[in-house]
Structure formats: structure tokens, C-alpha cells
Symmetry: C2
Subunit: 305 residues, 2 copies
């Protein structure tokens, strides 16, 4: 990022864990400032929005956004707005996914999910309002010097969130419960359900990049998005609920097709490793500036939660 | 609008009913083209989105948008995009409002509501994806020659939809069931729940206007938004379900505060008439170009459905 604050100025000198922690703290601060205060009417809605969007998560999408911004020298203002927008979309999707008519999950990030802490109607509105807020953040006046470039960012976010992006992936996922899927079908579903927003995170961060950089991060994002989901499926089998902060073993119980049920555990792990390699390949022409993207690929494929 | 097609070219020569019918047909065509086809995956989601957003409604928001565009000479491309965007947001809000955890209404525009025709999970995703699509439409590349002006339109839509706009009004409405509200409280709730999107419809249509025009339509929209809701409350008492196309008498059954319960029927009618006058006053400096906005004010306050 071009106008880094002191906390991230010497990014290349600090190790990955410090870098990630600094930016996790940063996005938390930015989101806390962006979300309406809980004493502004309607108070319950705002408290529930803050409950759902703050205080948790690995913030992988924000980190991907900041890492791409570092490669492409995107300004810190744009990176902050883009990182907030993708985290708000992600938070809204979790709130709606957890609702009884969807995955019916009581636990999220180690806390009661939004509809358990509040109620179903509030959770519905929280998700709706978080989605609007994501677009509001990215439509901040004169965020980009070039208004058309900013419109393009809004287009990327809208497409990634909609019926041929994340929401579409959810719909395919719903329709697939209990059905055998082929690997291409499973992959197509995940490319929408999680891949689209991960790709948007990277592309929004790469806002200022040249064509070579943007093509490279797009290919990176495609593979790392898939890897993310493969690892998610592995963790659903291997990790326990307290480590995950969400209910473990849920996929098997709900007869959802996963990479593990499709490929078996060992092959799923080998596939995640292969995707890691494929994600890194397009970054080869870039040096130290792509370091965080490489480290994130490693973090995503080796994470335990 | 500056580059009208033949269907609306002689707008000022045709009477209001013809004008409205032409533009209702126009917005239907634009939406039909904008919504993904039902044979594009995920098919069920796309079919349900089309089911919910097409084929019905008075399209008051689209008409307000087109009428403001006529006053301000906004291009037809921008007016179409803005009218689609507000109708998509409105359609999403109806789908979510009808869900069991909200108003639990089985009937909408004379048909089974989305969650009855499909299921709750689909209805949730339909609303989510319609919201994303509204922003996608308004983020069409180079819709406005000035990108910053287009970003401002996206900002208006996002604010009007979010927690201090429509979704916020819903939250206040939910919290108010069975509680006595003062008139200012009721008014504040409706200014968000329906007023914010009506105001956005007019402001987005007025995109190309000068300061005098924009100030005038803002004041117009404020009053007509309130009038719309007062009439809605009157119709809920006076009309029957088949005329309304939605369940009549619902407010009284659910002990929702309304203008009728607060003011009584006669005073509510007098209040609607007063708001009509207040809506028209700021349009006085404008001549024939504001004709459709005046006619719409009359339509909104005198409608029987």
C-alpha cells in the first residue's frame, strides 16, 4: 500500500504473524468506526450488526485484500474501504447462513450466532443492512481519484455477492444436500460460494495494479479460493468444535457433499497442497512485494481452524 | 428524460394513465432483461428472483424515478438503471418482509409470496441476491459520463437501503408491535421504512438536475413518502384483500401502530390531503416538466389499492 501508516510501514521487515495481527487489529478498528454506534437508532439493529461483524474471525478476506494492495501499491484508504466491504459482505453471509431456514447453526466464532443472541427477524435485517453497508463503504465520495475506477470496484463487489457469485453458490449448496456431486460440480459450487468473494477481495486490493499484476492475482485468487474450501472440508472432519469456533462435523451430519467425502481425506490433503503450488506459480515474476500473498497462501492451506 | 424512446417521447401530450402504463411496461421489460434468465444456473434461484421481481406492483418507485428524470432531463439510460435499482431493492424488501420470521404473509401482489411458492431458504437468498443486483445495475460501466456522479448514486441507494434507511425502519417497526407510538415516532419509523427508498427513487431520477430542482424534489419526496404510508394504513382498513393483492386488515390483527389507530380514519384522510398539498408546493416554480410528479402525488394519495 502506498501511504502506509507506521503500523504496517515496515511490513516486509516483520514476520507474517505480526503482519497479520497488525492488520487484523487494523480492520477491526476500521469496522468499529464504520459500523453505526449501538446508541444510534435503531439501537438493537446496530448492536446486533456490531455483534455480528466485530470481534472475531481470521479476517482472511481483509488480509488478502491488504496483501494484494501491497503488491499493487494501492492506497491505504482504498485498501481499508475494500477490506471493510468484503468483511461486511462475509459477515452478512454468515448471519444469514446460520439462520434456522439455512444451516441452522447456533455457534459462530465461538459465540451464539446472531439469531440465537437476538432473534430470527433481527438476524435477517442484520444481514440485509450489513450488505447495504458494504456498498455504502465502497461508495464513499472520491475514494478513488478516478470515479469510473471506483464504480468498477462496486461492480466487482456486487457481482461477487449476487446470484452468480456468493448467493448463487449458497443456492447450489442448498440444492446439493444429500446429492452426489462430481468434482467439477462441487468445484463450481465452491467457486461461487466462497471463491467469488475471495477473488473479489484480492481484485479490490489490487485496484491500482497493472495488467500483469491483476492477471497474476486473479489466477492466485482462483486457486487459493478453492484451497480455502478444501481445507475447510478437511477441518470439518479433523478439528473439534472449540478449535473451529463453529460446529464441527456438521457437513457429514447434514450429508453435504465435501472434498473429503468425494476424494477421501488423504487425496483432499494432496489436492490442497497442489492448489497451494498452483496459487503461487503466477506470483513468481514478483519479488518481495508478493511476499504477503505467498505467506497467506501458506496460512490458508496450513491453518488448523 | 433527454433521449426518450418513441413510447414516452410525447409524454406531456399523453394523459397520466397512459404515461404510467407505458412506463410500467417499460420497467417490466428492463427488469426482465436485467434479471438473469431462469435457465442460467442456479436455475431455481433465478426463477424465484424473476417470480418475485417481475409481473406486478404499481411500480410507484420506478414512476417517481422516471417523473423526476423528466423534470431534470436525466438520460433514459440512467433513468432505466435507477428505476430498476429501486424496484429491485423494493422487491427484495417485500420478499424478506413476507417471511415467517417477519410479517409471515402468504400473499403478495395477488400471488403466493416467495417463501410460499418456493421455501424460506430460497426466499432468503432471493432477497439477498436482488439487493446485490440493484447495486450491480447501478454500477454498470460508464453509466454516467462523470464517474463520481455515479458513485454518488450508489451512495444514495446504499444509504436509503441500510440500517439508517429501509432496513432500519423495518427494525423499528418490528420493535413497535403492540406499543403505543406518538405521531413523531410513527413518522420517524415510516420515513425510514418506506420514505427513504421513495426519496432515493426521486433523487436518483433527478440525477441530472440543478440545485433548485434537486431541493424541490427532495421536499416533494419527503411529503409524498409520508403520504404514501398514510394512504397504505387507510387502505389496510378500507380495502379488501383481493383489491390490495396482499392480506388486508393485517395491521390491526398484528396490533401494529398505524396512522389510522393513532389519528382515526377521518383525520388520517385529512392528513394525507395535507401532505399532498405540501408535496406539490415546492414544485410550483416548475411548469409542465413537473407535471408527472404532480400527477403521481395525486395518484399516490387517491389510489384504491
Amino acid at each position: 500500500m502506498s501511504t502506509q501508516t507506521s503500523s504496517t510501514q515496515k511490513a516486509s521487515a516483520v514476520d507474517f504473524q505480526d503482519w497479520a495481527q497488525q492488520l487484523q487489529a487494523r480492520i477491526e478498528t476500521v469496522l468499529a468506526r464504520t459500523l453505526p454506534a449501538a446508541d444510534i437508532a435503531p439501537q438493537t439493529l446496530h448492536a446486533a450488526m456490531r455483534y455480528s461483524a466485530l470481534g472475531g474471525g481470521k479476517r482472511v478476506r481483509a488480509l488478502l485484500c491488504y496483501a494484494a494492495a501491497e503488491l499493487c501499491n494501492t492506497s491505504v484508504e482504498i485498501a481499508d474501504a475494500a477490506a471493510s466491504a468484503v468483511e461486511l459482505i462475509h459477515a452478512y453471509s454468515l448471519v444469514h447462513d446460520d439462520m434456522p431456514c439455512m444451516d441452522d447453526d447456533d455457534l459462530r466464532r465461538g459465540k451464539p450466532s446472531c439469531h440465537k443472541q437476538y432473534d430470527d427477524a433481527t438476524a435477517l435485517l442484520v444481514g440485509d443492512a450489513l450488505q447495504s453497508l458494504a456498498f455504502e463503504v465502497l461508495a464513499a465520495p472520491h475514494l478513488c481519484a478516478d470515479g469510473h475506477q471506483q464504480v468498477q470496484m462496486l461492480q466487482i463487489l456486487a457481482k461477487a455477492s449476487g446470484s452468480t457469485g456468493m448467493a448463487g453458490g449458497q443456492a447450489i449448496d442448498l440444492g446439493a444436500v444429500g446429492k452426489p456431486l462430481t468434482q467439477p460440480q462441487l468445484e463450481g459450487m465452491h467457486q461461487l460460494k466462497t471463491g467469488a468473494l475471495i477473488q473479489a477481495s484480492v481484485l479490490l486490493g489490487a485496484n491500482n495494479g497493472n495488467t500483469a499484476q491483476i492477471n497474476a492475482v486473479r489466477a492466485y485468487a482462483h486457486n487459493i479460493g478453492l484451497a480455502f474450501q478444501v481445507v475447510d472440508d478437511i477441518l470439518d472432519v479433523e478439528a473439534d468444535t472449540s478449535t473451529l469456533g463453529k460446529t464441527a462435523g456438521k457437513d457429514a451430519l447434514s450429508h453435504k457433499p465435501t472434498y473429503v467425502t468425494l476424494l477421501g481425506l488423504a487425496s483432499a490433503k494432496a489436492y490442497a497442497a497442489a492448489l497451494y503450488d498452483k496459487a503461487l506459480a503466477p506470483l513468481a515474476p514478483f519479488g518481495e512485494e508478493a511476499r504477503r500473498l505467498r505467506e497467506l497462501a501458506s496460512f490458508i492451506t496450513q491453518r488448523q481452524f
